[in-house]
């Protein structure tokens, strides 16, 4: 069943229910005012502070470190080099070796004798204040012998220069999925060969530029080693995984470690990491026996917190002349940066199942080579693998439509899974449980005014207007709600994908909910409160959601991959249901009725056919007092549940973008953005809107603004927000959003993830629109971000008759230093 929002409103949802209400987020006041426990706000008695000395070179041998001046600096307690702790510092973990023969360089938190990216930590200052630590950091005198650096992804893949010479190769792992081998489809090479004779073959190469997650709160860690346990506060998405890995790497008993992620100011995947800074802070605190804090600067964050994306995508799509796709072959190069970080190698693998998207392709092959370079390591960034896949397929479907001279929706409709075909097993082997691409598309076109804008586009083309109009389509889907543990096991991931919850009934009738899904801005406290309020029939305000402290919510797998609601929320439902089941015999006993005659409805246990009943709060108090409980019944309603999903879930949507392109300057301006998403049932529409609007801007930013650029010595040129262009509200327009509803069948709430949807969907819609605006001039691609200069050059090149060379298919190796001569450093002037 699929309903539009309007239709749903007409069905008049029960106003007594919390689920579906536009609840404003209960956590926002403290988060927005900052009157809360950000990690950097913590000050402990006797606390020491760290500053990091980082390598200015991308690849160099450390020949000497003179730390005497730094050690003599006021209030410096200790100066630590990699050599000082070489035997005890351990190595940072890689939790997802994607192949058994993956080449994985050692990853010491402090470089010992060689640095492999600009920004790597070489020495650590421990001082009584952060300012004194920073002052002393300037005084560490380090001699380096610079080595050739592997910077360009394609060249690195050819092993021209080695990022880690001792490994003998930059190639870390090669991972393939082939539908013929998997038994999920045919032979892709045969399909392509056949299409070369009697069909159509579209070949393209796309660049997924490197991005920086740029979360609002820079990373911060405090470690207190005093007392029986070692406590770490950290600005992380993954307190539970961090606790486990701290124990695994350092040998400290897991039971002696407590990790707290207090309020965390955003992550976008960028805090799905165990960092050198965390391990160093942990190590130093244990060495000095005092609390220690490290908070990175924004410059350090941009340089050394993990980056995202960074792929070359070579794509071959074969189709019959009527637009029916017969095969899709993907060949990826993925830039890991200097190390294989926590799940960095697995990010492209998460995309492997999504290149076929919403389509019924008979044959599919995915090949990925992960490559080491001397740049900051890459890992999860909002969408992690799925935006890359979605970009590739949605861009090339537009190319197919252009080749055939048909509307982009025509090729999509011809190839997509029809709503009556769900559940549907894809050529990548996933079972999509529900969806309705027809309904979402119809609604999106209506919101957008598709036919009117197409008519306007034609008028402007015919008139040869200086500002042309383009329309971009993205009919995305994604797999989220990470993840069925068995599937993760089959992909050699190092952990499961379940989530844990506890529901505690307090004697006063209030409810404490403990979740292992640790929020970093998503609004868990509000959405989970709504779920529990409905389930237990208590007031929304009476529910307190606790998370992010391994001593409080002792078990969990944290927050990423749009999993919190669909996995964590389901665990909460199951725990709440257990509370009800535990309360029933107590209610029956107190009401002097048989358990079989007890009904639970809207927070009240009642005896069937009578007006006798007790509220949940009354049962809670009676259970606490335990004066009069049935024999053999424990005096507790508290319940735990751990939920392991049986499947991913598959939000989808149709996104439409209209871009105006000034053919004289290349300037691109968004005219309209409309989308209809299907994320199943919605707990809190306001939070969903927030996720979608923010997600859309983040995806649009990849299309238009953001790119991490290194110069040819391996220095990050976009090392501040002067050059790494984040959009603000001034750069965006208001989006027209609606949703259709195909409830997920794999959780009782019928919900699907929404945290990454906007980001995954929007990037190709924008670039498709930019290209569409100037395709009649001969442009077939503009590399991201679509800067005015790139658009202008693409138009000029096309007008110059060099159509075959317009970026895309025959793009030369990306020279990362292009255009960097004569750069003015805005931050180095002074007068």
């Amino acid at each position: 069943m699929t309903l539009t929002e309007d239709e749903m409103t007409q069905t008049a949802p029960d106003s007594t229910l919390e689920i579906g209400k536009d609840r404003r987020r209960k956590e926002d006041q403290r988060l927005i005012t900052g009157r809360t426990r950000w990690t950097d706000n913590l000050t402990l008695p006797g606390m020491l502070h760290l500053a990091m000395v980082r390598s200015p070179f991308a690849h160099a041998t450390i020949t000497n470190i003179d730390k005497s001046a730094a050690e003599a600096s006021p209030n410096v307690v200790r100066v630590i080099t990699g050599a000082d702790v070489a035997d005890e510092q351990g190595g940072l973990p890689n939790a997802w070796p994607i192949t058994p023969d993956q080449v994985t360089p050692n990853h010491p938190p402090i470089a010992v004798d060689r640095v492999v990216f600009a920004g790597e930590i070489v020495a650590v200052i421990v001082a009584r204040s952060a300012a004194e630590a920073r002052d002393a950091a300037e005084l560490v005198d380090i001699d380096y012998d610079e080595l050739p650096a592997a910077l360009d992804l394609k060249e690195a893949a050819e092993d021209k220069v080695l990022a880690h010479p001792e490994l003998g190769t930059n190639k870390s792992a090669f991972w393939r999925f082939d539908s013929e081998e998997a038994g999920t489809g045919g032979n892709v090479d045969q399909a392509i060969a056949k299409a070369r004779t009697d069909g159509i073959v579209i070949e393209r190469e796309y660049r997924q530029q490197r991005l920086i997650p740029a979360f609002m709160e820079p990373r911060s860690t405090v470690v207190d080693p005093t007392g029986e346990q070692i406590t770490m506060w950290s600005s992380t998405q993954i307190p539970h995984i961090l606790k486990f890995l701290l124990a695994a790497v350092t040998g400290v008993s897991e039971s002696k470690i407590r990790v707290i992620a207090p309020d965390v100011g955003g992550g976008f995947g960028g805090k799905l990491q165990t960092t050198p800074e965390e391990f160093i802070t942990f190590l130093v605190a244990r060495q000095v026996g005092k609390p220690v804090k490290y908070t990175e600067t924004r410059s350090e964050s941009l340089m050394a917190a993990h980056h995202g994306r960074d792929q070359w995508q070579k794509l071959t799509l074969s189709a019959e002349k009527d637009g029916t796709v017969t095969g899709f072959k993907v060949e990826l190069l993925a830039d890991l940066g200097s190390h294989v970080s926590l799940v960095g190698g697995g990010v492209p693998v998460l995309g492997a199942f999504m290149f076929n998207a919403i389509y019924k392709f008979p044959a599919y092959q995915f090949n990925c080579q992960t490559v080491l370079t001397n740049k900051t390591w890459t890992d999860a960034y909002r969408g992690a693998g799925r935006p890359e896949a979605t970009y590739a397929i949605e861009r090339i479907m537009d190319e197919l439509a252009a080749e055939l001279g048909v509307d982009p929706f025509e090729v999509r409709e011809k190839n997509w899974i029809k709503h009556e075909e769900f559940p549907f097993t894809t050529v990548a082997g996933l079972e999509y449980d529900s969806g309705n691409y027809e309904a979402a598309t119809a609604r999106a076109k209506e919101l957008f005014g598709y036919d009117e804008l197409r008519a306007e586009q034609k008028r402007r083309r015919d008139a040869g207007d200086q500002v042309q109009l383009g329309i971009g389509v993205s009919t995305f889907t994604e797999m989220c709600g990470l993840a069925p543990s068995r599937v993760l096991g089959s992909l050699d991931y190092g952990a499961g994908g379940w989530e844990h919850a506890s529901v505690r009934m307090l004697p006063t009738g209030k409810v404490e909910v403990l979740t292992g899904a640790s929020a970093h801005g998503q609004g868990h406290e509000t959405a989970f409160s709504q779920i529990v309020a409905d389930r237990l029939g208590v007031a929304f305000e009476d529910v307190e959601v606790l998370h992010g402290d391994t001593m409080v919510s002792h078990k969990g797998l944290d927050t990423y991959g749009s999993r919190s609601l669909v996995v964590g929320g389901e665990a909460i439902v199951k725990a709440a249901d257990k509370v009800i089941e535990k309360a029933k015999p107590i209610a029956a006993h107190l009401l002097e009725a048989s358990v079989d005659d007890i009904e639970f409805n809207a927070g009240r246990f009642s005896v069937k056919g009578t007006d006798q009943g007790l509220a949940m709060a009354e049962i809670a108090l009676a259970t606490f007092a335990a004066h009069n409980l049935p024999d053999g019944v424990e005096p507790s309603l508290d319940s735990d549940a751990t939920f392991d999903p049986v499947n991913f879930n598959y939000p989808h949507g149709t996104h439409l973008c209209a871009m105006e392109v000034d053919t004289e300057t290349g300037e691109v301006t968004m005219r309209k953005y409309a989308a209809c998403d299907d994320i199943g049932n919605i707990i809190n529409p306001l939070i969903v809107s927030g996720q979608l609007h923010g997600g859309l801007v983040q995806g649009i930013a990849q299309a238009l603004w953001e790119e991490a650029v290194y110069d040819d010595s391996g220095t990050l040129v976009t090392g501040s927000f002067v050059d790494y262009l984040l959009p603000t509200a001034a750069d965006t327009i208001s989006f027209d959003l609606d949703h259709t509803t195909s409830p997920a069948t794999t959780n009782t709430l019928g919900t699907k993830g929404v945290g990454e949807a906007g980001t995954i969907a929007s990037t190709p819609a924008v670039v498709n629109a930019v290209v569409d605006a100037v395709r009649h001039l001969g442009v077939t691609d503009v590399r991201m971000p679509c800067t005015p200069e790139r658009v202008w050059k693409a138009i000029n090149d096309a007008r110059g008759g060099a159509q075959a060379e317009t970026v895309g298919a025959a793009a030369p190796h990306f020279d990362e230093s292009t255009g960097m001569d004569g750069t003015v450093d805005r931050t180095s002037g002074g007068n």
């Binding site: 410059s299 976009t718 603000t728 200069e789 960097m820 004569g822 750069t823 003015v824 805005r826």
Partner: protein, 285 residues
């Protein structure tokens, strides 16, 4: 983001400030709002021993009418200039440029004179100051002197202000009744312009009687597009005439190449933006 240690002085008069500057010389930096200086200090790209904050010198704030000129105190915040009716009426070009300078927060902290003294060729105020032929009043140990805009901007981040001197006010000749447009080309709203054009023209009976055009980020200093100005005078304010004149926009410029565009692209942008700015200032579009 912690600066190296420095001493902080907050004089309340220009004389005190000059004395402090004379005493500390090279070791001192002037703080005039801090929107450029503070990031430099916090990123430890510079480490002066003394910072002299002009923020307490009230005589340096404010805008006054001085007959044929407006006088803008060097420490007047951008937000004050932005909303000042005198500026809007007599130096419209400055109003238009300040309106889109950086963002609200910066416009409330940053100062008119501070930005001009910083002399970033990508700053939004240099080109309007050139186009309006502003005069820069500079105080030093020997008294004050006045420098014409043409002589004020020396090189990248370098002005005619001596090491022992302080910019106190900017005299802007009134351009009452002139049309004005600041055409700023950016990728995101808060960034420095890739190229911007400050154009102000006086139109008489459909003919351009006078035209002044400043260019932002087309060289190591803000520049004046004199060839365009000369070509415009006496021409009708029409698309064709202005297009022909604007073709000279990049003459004598030396634009930078960076992530936002190579020099050749900036040169192209200059011709387009000059045309658009002049037509808009002349009321043709």
């Amino acid at each position: 983001m912690i600066p190296a240690p420095f001493d902080y002085l907050a004089p309340t008069t220009v004389e005190e400030a000059l004395a402090a500057l004379g005493q500390h010389g090279d070791d001192a930096k002037i703080l005039a709002g801090g929107q450029s200086l503070l990031p430099v200090l916090r990123m430890r790209l510079n480490a002066p021993e003394v910072v002299i904050d002009l923020g307490k010198i009230h005589s340096l704030r404010g805008i006054r009418d001085d007959g044929d000129a407006l006088v803008i105190g060097a420490m007047t915040q951008h937000s004050v200039v932005e909303h000042d009716p005198l500026v809007a009426e007599h130096a419209t070009l400055i109003s238009k440029a300040v309106e889109h300078l950086a963002d609200h927060q910066i416009r409330h902290r940053g100062t008119f004179g501070g930005a001009l003294a910083h002399a970033d060729p990508a700053g939004d105020l240099g080109a309007p100051a050139l186009a309006l032929e502003a005069q820069f009043v500079i105080a030093g140990p020997a008294g004050t002197r006045t420098v014409a805009a043409d002589d004020f901007f020396v090189d990248l981040f370098e002005t005619a202000i001596g090491e022992d001197e302080i910019l106190t006010e900017i005299r802007v000749p009134k351009h009452t009744g002139w049309g004005a447009t600041y055409e700023k080309f950016v990728r995101v709203a808060h960034q420095w312009p890739i190229v911007a054009v400050a154009a102000t023209v006086r139109v008489e009976g459909g003919t351009i009687a006078e035209a002044r055009i400043g260019l932002t980020n087309m060289g190591s200093t803000p520049l004046r597009a004199r060839a365009v100005e000369a070509a415009l005078v006496g021409q009708p304010a029409t698309e064709d005439a202005v297009r022909a004149a604007a073709a000279h926009a990049a003459e004598g410029t030396n634009p930078p190449s960076d992530l936002n565009g190579e020099a050749a692209y900036r040169a192209h942008l200059a011709t387009v933006l000059v045309r658009r700015a002049v037509l808009s200032a002349a009321g043709t579009t």
